[in-house]
Symmetry: C2
Subunit: 519 residues, 2 copies
């Protein structure tokens, strides 16, 4: 049985094998309890092909920390590791290491500083900084990336879809097209990033949102198969849900059958003193059909009903639908603005999968090891491409706001630097030697530290805000983010810089490492 | 707490809200226990943009059935539904319906016929046929689609990647880029579809495969930060894992540092009587670097070591790497074939997300309702596009093999038709009136029924085969599938047909429904 073993597939073994083989090596060399620092960050914003993100919305942290608080090597996990064999058939993991894991194989000695969920975040900025014993910090990598990459990806997509919808309600509908139970994380991230509601019942329950949904084509088909028709189905729905009557009108023919039948039922509801909610369109030319449906609804006195659009929507499709409505509505004597203001967008597959960019390439890189005397030794990897060389050492992250109260740069600094005490900031491009900005304090309205301690002593070190508060945080950050960076297509690149001191450290480490080639 | 509520987010509430509102409507109209049939199928093979699938590999069934056997409306679920409110603040779900769910809210009365996992499957063929009480069959939809869509998508991608790799070992590495815990389903599906192993420890454990993985860049960085170098790191790895020594050689510089250091360590291992496994390349021009690395390894007497390639691989990238090796290896005096035969491919993001086609559009359509006298009433939905009109009624599915023992068509037939008893088969195109094939029995070597009963009386009605057997089934089906259909780019379209009788039924239902517009 598999799903009945969540303790196996969703516990500490929710990781990659090489984390365990490396951990044993650290143990064998007495390095397993050496304090290490790993930084989690992403190098590139999601690129959807024809369009690109200029920012991300951070998400996933609370579920990661809950997983960490519960995960540890239980006896059954240890026994499984004991059964693994080397190529020769001998045990792969030795008893002393397994004994260590059985005693210390948990995340109780790990400390995490992170940028909170709901905040706008940028490429190459450490979003999550992990410090703790090398072996367990290494084992954490896979689950941390899994939890944070996906939710940040989806919160970002949801924020874009919300922007394209001009503030109209966005419904997350994608559970059936998600990666198994990952659909739950996707629904949560969508709510953080910009969806107003989700159809996912379980996630709505645990997060305290009302789940949304009315009926599918199958309900209409049931009445048709029994010899009735769409009208009977709609009447039944209005009968059972007189105050929540939202009807899917495209089972037979939207304008010839669905909308006229809906209007008949709405009139019956009105006579009984109820206010109908509206209709949903799920196929065809959604812009054209919404104009025609709105005209028919208006003519019948239902100008206050909503029109829900669904079917393969994403940010570009929504933009196009709204543009088409603006062109086409006046031709039919309809005010485009009034129509847009009654629309709701149901977004399924393309949100839950982040169509065009189905994974965020977040990474988790060793940046420093602590000496026994407390000194930090920076670690670096010389990659084939300079842009992939991580920024070394123990660091802090600051966000600089200009005199317009707009975020103008995120700055990585050494831990001991306090940017607020400097007269002038020199902001170095992370890779290109000749690119830098000089910023006097007079040009700055605020310097904000972004990282905060979220996990310590085996538990959350902060009170995780409800999703509603995370949404407010997101909106506050977007209000202070250059609209050029928020463009859905070809956005302006936000500045992520290094302080002069950090930049000098990085250069000296690269020189040193290059010099050590073939030792 | 959220993840500590798996019974909430992974139980019966792992569904869309509209399933519950429809179920209550059926209950109110006395239809909830009417036996219904829903067909699950997909309309389009995955289309990755520049390339397309010509077949899918069926997967996900066993985990779905396990979920079904455990899921039911527990008291806490009922209490949550009781708390949901209508627009007016009144309860959305009524006590009598909730009482019904508390008594009958499980899948014990559902029967499922399905095409087994591991089989090659095609568009518009019912893969899963659900019969049971309308309300619970409706509630099942979301979870069924979630479980089957994703695993079939990934098994298909894995099969393509395996084909591109010419039978060389494929490793699934994608957990960190998956949708949360969905990564477990992805790893299982990858193993069914074509990956030989996965790095996912928990899934390897429950499925009985050895998890694969050695070390990451971070291990090398640890030794560098402590004042050592790549060579010390490699020596440590060889010391701890003398019989499993596979070294990642691109932390500093692949050809200047990584491969020479690996060879030194391999020589030391050889002197101690161990056989080194090989190296992994994770950046740069993998074709060029594998040629150069192979030359260096050969010159040192390690021609039998493997070379693992990773970094953004998918089926097209692997095809291109192999093509480049064939062009370029001879220039460096290397036999291309020998190099290809020592390669292993580690595939992460692009497999676990099915890059380019991140969701399979599988649907779940009501096709028939049973009368109290046992007669089946076919249900149909007249969509805007004829291709989307489901094939109606109670059906069987047959696969026809020609005289070369190759599958030549999948045929949908009425339940009462036995294709084996007909002299001549007329195979109708599902949509186009003028397209049909006439097939005499003499042209046919085998007619195979594809659906088998897999779930009945609240439990699995078959003995689910181990993943190893599913892989054999997949290979047997691929051996009988036209290579043109297996092409990775622009594949030949496999025939999916209706029998004359089913085709006539569909036409009459469409005429009838069109006639009933605006009742």
């Amino acid at each position: 049985m598999k799903l009945t073993q969540p303790e196996t597939v969703a516990g500490i073994l929710f990781t990659d094998e090489y984390q365990l083989t490396m951990a044993q090596l650290y143990f064998r060399y007495g390095l397993h309890e050496r304090t290490a620092q790993f930084d989690h960050f992403f190098r590139d914003y999601p690129n959807y092909g024809a369009h690109q993100a200029g920012y991300c919305v951070n998400a996933g942290l609370e579920w990661l920390l809950q997983w960490m608080a519960a995960a540890r090597f239980y006896p059954a996990d240890i026994e499984y590791l004991r059964s693994q064999t080397s190529q020769t058939g001998a045990p792969l993991f030795q008893p002393d290491f397994l004994h260590y894991l059985s005693q210390h194989g948990h995340f109780g000695d790990i400390t995490i500083d992170a940028i909170p969920e709901g905040r706008v975040v940028h490429a190459n900025v450490p979003l999550t900084v992990v410090q703790g014993p090398l072996a367990m910090a290494q084992i954490l990598e896979t689950s941390l990336l899994n939890h944070l990459n996906y939710q940040t990806l989806i919160a970002t997509k949801a924020s874009r879809i919300r922007a394209s919808g001009r503030g109209q309600v966005i419904l997350e509908f994608g559970l059936r097209r998600a990666q198994g139970f990952g659909g739950n994380a996707g629904a949560r991230a969508a709510l953080i990033g910009g969806a107003h509601y989700t159809s996912n019942v379980g996630v709505s329950h645990v997060l305290g949102f009302p789940p949304k949904g009315t009926h599918a084509h199958s309900m209409v088909q049931v009445f048709m198969a029994l010899g009735g028709g769409e009208l009977e189905a709609f009447r039944a729905y209005a009968d059972v849900y007189p105050n929540d009557c939202l009807l899917l009108v495209d089972t037979i023919d939207t304008l010839q059958s669905g909308v006229p039948n809906a209007i008949r039922v709405f009139e019956e509801l009105r006579r009984r003193g109820h206010r109908p909610i509206g209709i949903r369109l799920d196929s065809g030319d959604l812009a054209y059909l919404s104009i025609q449906a709105a005209k028919m609804l208006n003519a019948a006195g239902f100008a206050d009903t909503v029109i829900v659009l669904s079917n393969q929507l994403d940010e570009l499709t929504i933009m196009q639908i709204l543009a088409q409505i603006e062109m086409e509505a006046p031709r039919y004597g309809l005010e485009a603005d009034a129509l847009v203001k009654r629309l709701t967008f149901g977004v399924g597959t393309n949100l839950i999968t982040s169509l065009g960019s189905p994974a965020l390439g977040g990474v988790y890189k060793l940046v420093a090891l602590q000496e026994r005397d407390g000194r930090w030794l920076p670690a670096i990897k010389i990659s084939e491409t300079p842009a992939k060389t991580p920024n070394p050492g123990h660091k802090r992250v600051w966000r600089i706001y200009d005199q317009r109260q707009q975020a103008t740069a995120d700055v990585l600094a050494l831990a001991e630097e306090d940017l607020r005490s400097l007269d002038t900031l020199i902001l170095r491009h992370p890779v290109e030697h000749n690119k830098y900005r000089v910023l006097p304090q007079s040009a700055i309205s605020q310097i904000e530290p972004l990282l905060t301690t979220v996990y310590r002593d085996g538990q959350m070190a902060y009170d995780p805000p409800p999703v509603a508060a995370l949404r407010e945080q997101r909106q506050a950050d977007l209000d202070r983010l250059d609209p050029g960076v928020q463009r859905l297509v070809y956005p302006h690149i936000y500045h992520v810089s290094l302080t002069e001191q950090l930049w000098q450290l990085k250069q000296s480490l690269i020189r040193e490492a290059k010099g050590s080639v073939v030792t």
